[in-house]
Symmetry: C2
Subunit: 608 residues, 2 copies
């Protein structure tokens, strides 16, 4: 065995940040440049902008019509006033209104008469339909504060005020340096066992761009100190910040720390956080270098905590995602004291209250980051949080998107993927978490809809509703018809264990269906981790497995009646009722969608 960086001493997150900041000193400072106002969309103002001139610059007509002296109306009796050629001037909207004229009559109220005279059918007072100089913008007025992010209307206002250029934060330059001999590009093919597809680099580059940076993603450097040294020197020479990924942990090929010690100072190696513990914070050539661990979630979190604030500050962008207070669902969670832990959570917003449901917490799971709506921070001193406790959650999706998402719990079915896809096309989002029983989550108000399975012969919706009424006393409940689906057993091709019925399952390793999608069950069987799994014909077909049919069953939905009118819930029901869904279910096979989307409410009649 080669030498390892074992038993890394770790420092708390807050200390790591302050040590890093101190070591960087004044070397990380925002710079500014002038850009044309017309090209400034999304740029951040480096200084407040004040109006240089008034708008309008002159008294201007607010209408198409004629400019007149308002005094001519003072003595006129009756309805109409005749004006001779010298008593008015034809003006378009925006034209100057010059002395002696002081008001404008709109074109619609003017009728042409002989000899250039006009008849005016409305009377106007002094300044009527005239925009006075400075009415819109006054010279010297602060139009926009510093750090303002330029929008289209701001561009219009500044151009109107004859401000052709604005001082903005210069975009910082970030470099992402993937390292690892085993890294291969996605789509390149010819992979061998042990190869890893380079995926963090693309994620980190996009994160840097979201922080306002211009980012270079270098090709992977092999596990060789000299190659890493050269690549780092090159990146440092032309960038404001460098992220090395990965090679920051105690693995045998982790040369990053050594190379960084040669090129500069390693300020922190090891932070008391999970995931992301082996992160390196260094300063080389006066520039920040972050050694991010290789697991996607650890790489993401290291960037989020240590690189993003530096880049956002250089870009002039505000730091910090919105934090909501959410009720933790699922069981109690324990953690050792001393380290900070970030739980990836799905956040639901039901009746204005937020709920946080922890997702799988493997730091390797890029999928958990994609499924997550937020990060729930468990502080250094926390050792246990109870279900139902209120916890702070830093949102990683926009608050509005979280608030508008329809949340479904209960057993997963491929139908949900199709519905989610179709709803997304219409601008609605559906979040569904697979688990054996969704009704407890619905009872606790953690979701809008629960998916429920029932034997196909139990087709009496009325009786079903009665049961639900008993379960949700005092509430009106809606039962939304889903479909009848073919249940069965997914087995390896050729069914080597000769599984024919539920009874045969007792003797084999069964893929668990708690919290899993149909595809995940199929993958477990396909990889040999499990001998069999309960699933659908389409899941078997997609994974190249054999399918042993069992009885059909019903797959339906339950929600509180008052939620049926929510826009996303209405879209869900409409999608269920659509001919397009029926077509897609037919393609998938194994579904009988008769009555799909029919909704009955307890104490009420069927609707739609």
């Amino acid at each position: 065995m080669q030498k390892r960086n074992l038993n890394l001493p770790v420092v708390p997150v807050a200390d790591a940040l302050s040590l890093f900041t101190r070591a960087l000193g004044a070397s990380v400072e925002a710079r500014f440049k002038t850009v044309a106002t017309g090209d400034s969309l999304g740029r951040v103002l480096g200084a407040a902008v004040y109006a240089r001139s008034s708008s309008p610059m002159f008294n201007a007509s607010a209408m198409d019509g004629i400019a007149v002296r308002s005094e001519v109306f003072l003595n006129a009796g009756g309805e109409a006033v005749l004006l001779h050629e010298a008593d008015f001037a034809s003006v378009n909207t925006g034209d100057p209104v010059k002395r002696p004229f002081d008001a404008v009559v709109m074109a619609e109220d003017v009728v042409e008469r002989e000899a250039g005279a006009v008849e005016v059918r409305a009377r106007v007072a002094c300044r009527q339909n005239v925009r006075m100089a400075g009415e819109d913008v006054a010279s010297g007025e602060m139009l926009l504060p510093s750090r303002h992010v330029m929008r289209p209307v701001d561009i219009g206002l500044l151009l109107a005020g004859n401000i052709a250029g604005v001082e903005v934060y210069r975009r910082p330059r970030a470099a992402i340096l993937p390292t690892g001999t085993e890294l291969r590009a996605a789509g390149s093919g010819g992979y061998e066992e042990g190869d890893i597809i380079e995926s963090n680099g693309g994620m980190l580059r996009a994160m840097a761009e979201e922080c306002g940076a211009v980012c270079t993603l270098y090709p992977p450097t092999p596990d060789d100190p000299a190659a890493l040294r050269d690549a780092l020197k090159e990146a440092l020479s032309s960038h404001d910040l460098v992220v090395v990924n990965a090679a920051s942990s105690a693995g045998t090929e982790d040369y990053t720390v050594g190379v960084l010690r040669e090129l500069g100072e390693v300020v922190v190696h090891g932070v008391a956080m999970k995931p992301g513990r082996p992160v390196i914070l260094a300063v080389a050539g006066g520039k920040p270098v972050i050694g991010a661990p290789g697991y996607p979630v650890a790489a993401h979190l290291s960037f989020r905590l240590f690189a993003a604030p530096l880049l956002r500050n250089l870009s002039g962008l505000p730091d910090g995602a919105p934090v909501v207070r959410a009720r933790l669902s699922g069981g109690a969670r324990q953690k050792p004291p001393g380290a900070r832990e970030y739980l990836r959570v799905r956040v639901s917003c039901v009746d204005g209250a937020f709920h946080a449901q922890p997702l799988g917490q493997g730091s390797s799971s890029a999928a958990s980051l994609v499924k997550a709506d937020g990060l729930c921070l468990l502080g250094e001193s926390t050792t246990r949080v109870e279900a139902g406790e209120i916890v702070p959650v830093e949102l990683i999706r926009p608050l509005e998107a979280v608030e508008r998402t329809l949340v479904l719990r209960g057993p997963h079915d491929t139908l949900l993927d199709i519905v989610r896809d179709m709803m997304s096309e219409g601008g609605h989002s559906l979040s569904s978490a697979g688990e054996a029983d969704g009704l407890p989550a619905l009872e606790r108000g953690e979701c809008h809809i629960a998916a429920v399975r029932s034997p196909a012969d139990d087709a009496d919706a009325g009786a079903h509703l009665k049961d639900l009424e008993a379960r949700f006393p005092g509430e009106s409940i809606a039962l939304i018809k889903g479909c009848r689906r073919q249940a069965g057993i997914l087995v390896a091709p050729g069914n080597p264990l000769v599984i024919r019925s539920r009874g045969d399952l007792a003797a084999c390793r069964l893929a668990k269906d708690e919290g899993s999608t149909q595809s995940a069950l199929a993958a477990a069987v396909a990889s040999g981790s499990a001998d069999a799994g309960l699933g659908s014909p389409s899941a078997a077909r997609n994974a190249g497995l054999d399918f042993v049919p069992l009885d059909a069953e019903r797959y339906d939905f339950v929600c509180r009646a008052r939620h049926v009118q929510l826009p996303a819930c209405a879209a869900f029901i409409q999608t269920l009722q659509s001919a397009a869904l029926r077509r897609r279910l037919e393609e998938a096979g194994g579904y009988d969608p008769s009555g799909c989307g029919e909704t009955r409410t307890s104490g009420g009649a069927a609707s739609a």
Copy 2:
């Protein structure tokens, strides 16, 4: 007078939209292309993405350490187990764990012994510290739905799943064609009376870009049908949508309708909306052409209603801004029936409730668009809305930004501009609306803070708090010290009317200070619209006016004590207390900031 398009027949907004959509038919259809996954940040997926392979592709170590057979621990007693060279394999995080090994011991629990043997101090069960193939992503699983906007974590997930390219919506191409002989570019100088700075083009281009389009902004076309015809033909040949601005109203130089009739079909000319009535909707060469009116607000709204939905649909972006229900403040408003009206409103969010305060509604006011947080829609049949009524407001700033903004009402002072600028640098936003008295708005809960003026000799904060307690019965009120400021009269240079005191103001045209900033008052005097205005020495200096000093006065702030702890309010008070503010007030001149930011609460002691 030349021929005018008088008495434009108008059609309701909904009819205009459906006529336009019908005339366009299937010619406006989204197109798709494949982009590299790594370059797809912000792009919209044209189709759902399914996992092509599982992740991990093989059973992989979740730790740096050694791979072992878990069965060796089954029979071992005591604390440590000695493993010989053939009984383990050194693995790094991500390395394959091959048969016969089925578990990993972390490096920290392994001690090297002689002859290649190691001592293991922790026992592991089957699969412990091993990520099973397919655990993260299962082949065939839907990873992302169509119309999903790509984020960094999505890029990471797809690359990890070996998906090197994604199908995305192709960006539509939009052209903005400003027309008008009087248009001059900002910053070009040498303006003459009657010139108008071209500012809508930059705004509309940025709006198109926000809708996902690639946009060409053409140089202005003079008021000449042939020139407009050539420019339109050229724009239509290479773009999916064209906006002509302006020349859509009844002005004498409005050739747009005629040219569009030559090149295609004018579907609608004149929509029952305010602002934006003279909008043109046409189809030429199968492509949509929108003739937007020239006033900034009308141009903005025409684009928002008629161009944005088309472009967003082509881009795959969801349509529609968030709508909140807000309580209308200010007086009752009347409108004629038949047309839809969009009021620009400032939206405040106080204690979770939204309030909408109408801004100046001139369609020329680009500033009102910049100051607005939302558009309040008054429907076709509405003829009157009362203050206090709940109205729907379409937000034009992000909901989160509106919710986090500190809202101040009452008389304006340049100090507020400076504080707003300094707060913005710290990531907080302050919205202030100028008006004579802010306390009624504070009483109604429409704002967080009211600015109050008082004679400078009335310096007894205790007595002031007593008055406020009587005004806000049962509530704890905080009085936040602002500054003593030099009040005075702004007069034209040389003080031609010999104004010496307040008494002299009765005989002259006084600039109104309702709802106005100091700069606006000064601009009124500078332009000759008013003879005098009450203001500050800095306002006079900035506008090149003379200043007649009067008595000093105090300028302070009042808020509910429970709001003092809001992050934005705390930032406001900290800014008031800062040395940086004192420096900036000193530069401005006329301020005595002693005690600035000192906060006293009724029924409590002074804080800070």
